[in-house]
């Protein structure tokens, strides 16, 4: 059972606020959404759609002056073995480095087998990069992480993706929930020639079960849970609360 809550408070009334959300899990071979509920501030219009990578999105906004925006996305997901079928995605896009996943220097040598290589990269990251909260930003690149040798789950994922793409292994960024409370988690899916397999470089493991996926993309920019834009001079304060509990 997952619960994702966000409250955005503006310091003064804003005349217009537009949002795009990726806060609802998808059903795929590894997870089935059995129930879901969405509660949104009543003055917002919201519609469902898909983005460029077929992630579920909600988009909308409010066009009358208001001071808060809040939503709760909650539901129940049954998880199964984390193996996601290839559905004709454009692999080229997941092999091509992006600004956030571009590392040109050789960091380690890996076996030829894709899965063995992914394990080796995961392991190298675990041994060489220190998990340290708040030392990086959403804009930190894989090259910077490699240089500073520390970061959070997003940075581990970006660096793993960069190292996979160096080897021509299609790799994508994944955003979702991990059991516990706090924030969303980031991990990686690599393509082994048949399926997408999950790797969590922050915890140095191949994902078997218990991860709930929200969205995937070339890097974090394609996966943000929430994007918004408002007019006016206000400042905003955002409070997010996430839980995932086994039931």
């Amino acid at each position: 059972m997952y619960n994702y809550q966000t409250i955005v408070e503006f310091s003064e009334a804003v005349p217009m606020h537009a949002v795009m959300l990726r806060c609802q899990p998808v059903s795929n071979a590894g997870q089935t959404v059995e129930q879901e509920h969405l509660v949104v501030s009543p003055d917002y219009w919201l519609q469902a759609g898909h983005d460029a990578f077929y992630n579920r999105i909600l988009f909308g906004g409010a066009t009358e002056p208001h001071k808060t925006f809040a939503y709760v996305s909650t539901g129940i997901v049954a998880t199964d073995t984390y193996v996601i079928k290839y559905r004709g995605e454009n692999l080229f896009l997941f092999k091509q480095p992006t600004a956030l996943t571009n590392v040109r220097e050789a960091v380690l040598t890996t076996p030829d087998n894709v899965i063995d290589a992914a394990y080796a990269i995961c392991n190298w990251l675990y041994e060489n990069i220190v998990y340290q909260p708040l030392c990086t930003t959403v804009e930190t690149t894989a090259a910077e992480v490699l240089e500073r040798r520390k970061g959070v789950c997003q940075d581990f994922a970006h660096l793993m993706i960069a190292l996979c793409r160096q080897r021509d292994i299609p790799a994508r960024y994944v955003n979702g929930f991990l059991e516990g409370e706090g924030e969303t988690h980031a991990w990686v899916e690599i393509f082994d020639g048949y399926n997408w397999l999950g790797f969590d470089p922050t915890h140095n493991r191949c994902i078997s079960e218990g991860y709930v996926k929200l969205a995937h993309g070339r890097d974090v920019r394609d996966c943000s849970v929430s994007r918004g834009l408002f007019t006016g001079q206000a400042t905003q304060q955002t409070t997010i609360h996430v839980t995932l509990q086994e039931i």
Partner: protein, 442 residues
């Protein structure tokens, strides 16, 4: 044919003065500084014979038709890639390729509603296409207003010569926008504002075609439909946006998040078929300098016809044969960086020192896909007036092709010339001037 050349020459200063008073300017950002410069008008027109024009018109229609089919294909079935005509990296690593446009069906399946095709005429009389501009090509307003003023200064010129009418460009635009709008609401021109290089053009067209000139913040999306917010906060439904804001700034929730020029959620409304965007989003993949090489192949592939218009002879270092040729002949080729636009990133091998040539070679060896090389075309010079004396300068022609339900070519165009006698670069952003383009009637 009775060109009153002296009268036209005499009219030059008067016409330029009026252009200045009308605010015909070109804004240029360089090194973070905004400068407005006049766009100098040369009063001797470029004259294109009726038979040359018929050839160009047929060729331009064919080319733009194929480019539109290519864009549909890239964002849908990708047949041309699957059939091995274009290698996938040229499509997907192009900065203009937008995965966000996959599967979107623009109204009428048109992508390049307004295409600006840059051509040059060789000394042998053969025309060559140098570049296709399919994103938001500008420039048609300049010959329009220059002709409008010249007509007032020297009316006999146009009564005594059978020059094809050019005032119908507004009609071409208005008809196309009406067809794409499909009765959903009003049509607007979205301008980034007066600091945009082509702001004059935006306001001029809005007036000519009777569209509302919208500024950032005037348009918003509600219930997945686009509205124009009037000064009394009334809402007016918008059905068609001729947007003069580039792809990466059009929707801050999808593309560049810091953009204040765009319309949040407009991509969703567009995807749902609730608004037409002129030109479509994602067109950059077809006017990429690397894709240019493949345009004649698109004509054969999609239309089953022989291409009427020729490309300048082009080499792609990506292909081994061309790679060897380019490295061996670099000193006499033009080298273009595919990621740059507007005459930037274009170098002539003959102008470079031995060291610079070696540096360039190293760049090509490092990233072959990033470069194209072309033979230098010895293009026909046109006469321009320099201190009241005629001198010869390099010039090109931007032809405008408008596609709505049908594809139509405007019987005129923007002739740009280089004021520097040694330069082949005619871009307005590099200080060139312009002429009117006369297409002769039979």
């Amino acid at each position: 044919m009775n060109i009153r050349i002296n009268e036209l020459i005499d009219s030059r200063d008067t016409v330029n003065k009026w252009l200045e008073r009308y605010g015909v300017r070109f804004g240029v950002y360089k090194h973070g500084v905004f400068n407005e410069q006049l766009f100098p008008f040369d009063s001797i027109p470029r004259i294109i014979s009726h038979s040359d024009w018929s050839y160009l018109e047929t060729g331009l229609k064919q080319r733009v038709l194929a480019l539109n089919k290519f864009l549909w294909d890239v964002y849908h079935d990708k047949r041309i890639i699957k059939d091995g005509i274009i290698p996938e990296e040229f499509v997907y690593s192009s900065k203009g390729y937008m995965p966000e446009c996959e599967g979107i069906n623009p109204t009428g399946e048109v992508y390049a509603h307004i295409a600006g095709i840059d051509l040059v005429e060789g000394k042998d009389g053969q025309w060559y296409v140098l570049e296709d501009n399919l994103r938001i090509p500008s420039g048609a307003s300049y010959p329009m207003i220059a002709r409008e003023i010249t007509r007032k200064v020297s009316p006999q010129t146009f009564t005594q010569n059978a020059v094809a009418e050019n005032r119908n460009y507004s009609k071409l635009l208005a008809t196309m926008m009406e067809e794409m709008n499909n009765g959903r609401g009003i049509s607007v021109i979205l301008t980034p504002g007066r600091y945009n290089s082509a702001y004059f053009e935006h306001s001029y067209f809005a007036e000519k075609i009777g569209a509302t000139l919208a500024y950032p913040g005037d348009l918003f999306v509600e219930d997945n439909k686009v509205y124009y917010a009037g000064i009394y906060k009334e809402k007016t439904r918008v059905g068609c946006i001729y947007r003069r804001v580039s792809d990466e700034y059009i929707d801050p929730l999808i593309f560049e998040a810091s953009s204040l020029l765009g319309i949040p959620n407009v991509m969703q409304a567009y995807k749902s078929g609730n608004v037409a965007l002129i030109n479509a989003i994602g067109n950059g993949v077809a006017d990429d300098k690397g894709i240019y090489y493949f345009v004649p192949k698109m004509v054969e592939y999609y239309l089953g016809e022989q291409p009427i218009l020729q490309n300048a002879p082009t080499y792609l270092p990506y292909f081994k044969k061309d790679y060897d040729y380019v490295l061996a002949n670099i000193q006499r080729l033009v080298i273009k960086d595919v990621s740059e636009a507007g005459g930037y990133g274009v170098v002539f091998g003959k102008d470079l020192s031995k060291e610079k040539l070696d540096e360039l070679k190293a760049l090509i060896i490092d990233q072959p896909r990033r470069w194209i090389a072309q033979e230098v075309i010895d293009f026909k010079d046109l006469e321009i007036l320099e201190d009241d004396k005629p001198v010869e300068r390099k010039a090109d022609l931007r032809a405008f092709v408008v596609s709505g339900k049908e594809t139509r070519v405007w019987a005129s165009g923007l002739t740009r010339f280089s004021r520097n006698p040694d330069s082949f670069v005619v871009n307005s952003s590099q200080g060139g001037g312009f002429k009117d383009t006369w297409v002769l009637e039979e």
